[in-house]
């Protein structure tokens, strides 16, 4: 389903839409099945990350630590992507952090639902990603308990599969050698395109994407490597400044 307008499109509503999409696709009949099928599917993308990370020059161990410790896919891809394009460490860190800011908004949604303290709150924070939040919100018709289960099972499931597949991808890429010879250098931008695609639901959002691409291409010759990627947040600020 494609919403025709995101006129009132706060991130919260976007999540709720994402959740509905998961539910409406009738992947499964109950919360556990919803959670595990999302976890396995999304976790398998870890192969792409492991391969991209090794292709960017990170070791297998570093690639695995990324998935264990950073554990938010788009940010991980961004960090290794900026490093691969010759960017400075600060640019890689900034790009990854900016991409992770949506998790803050997910946390604000999940905290009142989960009502946990101490170690469990720290665990909940680490598992706060697109998928755990999306599945939790999609379980709303089944009640609060189902929402909580959806969050924990999806979050834990993605964590397990994402890390297993990262290791497999990293080992695979290491065994393959020259990234270009196996198309890994194209697989990384294709992965970014695949992450971008489901977000382009309206002409406005497609316009933001197109403007960002042109902007990045135009400023790249003038800025140090890696910085153009961060600089495109200017486009996001420009388009998001005024209410639509």
């Amino acid at each position: 389903m494609r919403p025709t307008s995101l006129r009132e499109g706060t991130p919260f509503q976007l999540i709720i839409r994402f959740g509905k999409t998961v539910r409406m696709s009738k992947l499964t009949k109950n919360t556990v099945r919803d959670s595990l099928s999302v976890a396995l599917t999304v976790g398998a993308y870890g192969v792409a990350f492991g391969a991209a990370s090794v292709a960017a020059g990170f070791s297998v161990l570093e690639s695995c630590l990324f998935s264990l410790l950073t554990f938010t896919g788009a940010s991980q891809f961004a960090a290794v992507g900026v490093v691969a394009s010759g960017g400075a460490a600060a640019s890689a860190i900034a790009a990854a952090t900016l991409l992770g800011t949506r998790n803050t908004l997910y946390g604000i949604q999940m905290a009142p639902l989960l009502r946990v303290r101490g170690v469990r709150r720290v665990l909940a924070a680490h598992l706060t990603i697109d998928e755990s939040t999306g599945v939790a919100l999609s379980q709303a018709p089944r009640g609060v308990t189902a929402m909580r289960e959806g969050f924990w099972i999806t979050g834990t499931g993605v964590f397990i599969f994402w890390n297993i597949f990262t290791l497999l991808g990293a080992l695979g890429a290491k065994a393959l050698g020259n990234p270009a010879s196996w198309g890994l250098d194209a697989a990384v931008p294709a992965a970014f395109l695949g992450l971008l695609w489901p977000r382009l639901q309206t002409n406005f959002l497609r316009g933001v994407a197109a403007a960002s691409m042109v902007f990045a291409m135009l400023v790249t010759p003038w800025l140090p490597a890696g910085l153009p990627i961060i600089a495109t947040t200017v486009v996001a600020v420009g388009f998001g400044w005024r209410a639509r």
Binding site: A74, G107, A186, A187, P189, A191, V208, A216, T232, G240
Partner: protein, 99 residues
């Protein structure tokens, strides 16, 4: 490398935790939310360009663009994510070796 890994992990966890401990009204500013919703789109778009058609500071059209074109076609055909990535890799590798 280790600095990127350490700082990225620390900051990404920090901003996740922030959402769980900060009272909602603090981040409820509509402008902040609008911009925040657009940031992933801008950054991912820039990353597609940086990784797909740039080498250092120059636009370079090579085998990667062939891979990206196939990825785009696969996305239009509603192919799942792994298919998109593998199709791009196979196409790019073929063009790389034929060239």
């Amino acid at each position: 490398m280790w600095a990127v890994l350490g700082a990225t992990s620390l900051l990404c966890f920090g901003i996740k935790l922030l959402g769980h401990v900060v009272p909602e009204p603090w981040l409820a500013n509509p402008r902040l939310q609008r911009v925040n919703a657009l940031i992933p789109i801008s950054l991912l778009s820039a990353l597609v360009v940086a990784q797909g058609v740039m080498v250092k500071t120059h636009v370079v059209i090579d085998h990667r663009l062939a891979g990206l074109a196939v990825a785009l076609a696969a996305l239009f055909a509603k192919a799942p994510f792994p298919v998109v990535v593998v199709a791009a890799a196979v196409t790019s590798a073929l063009v790389y070796h034929l060239h």
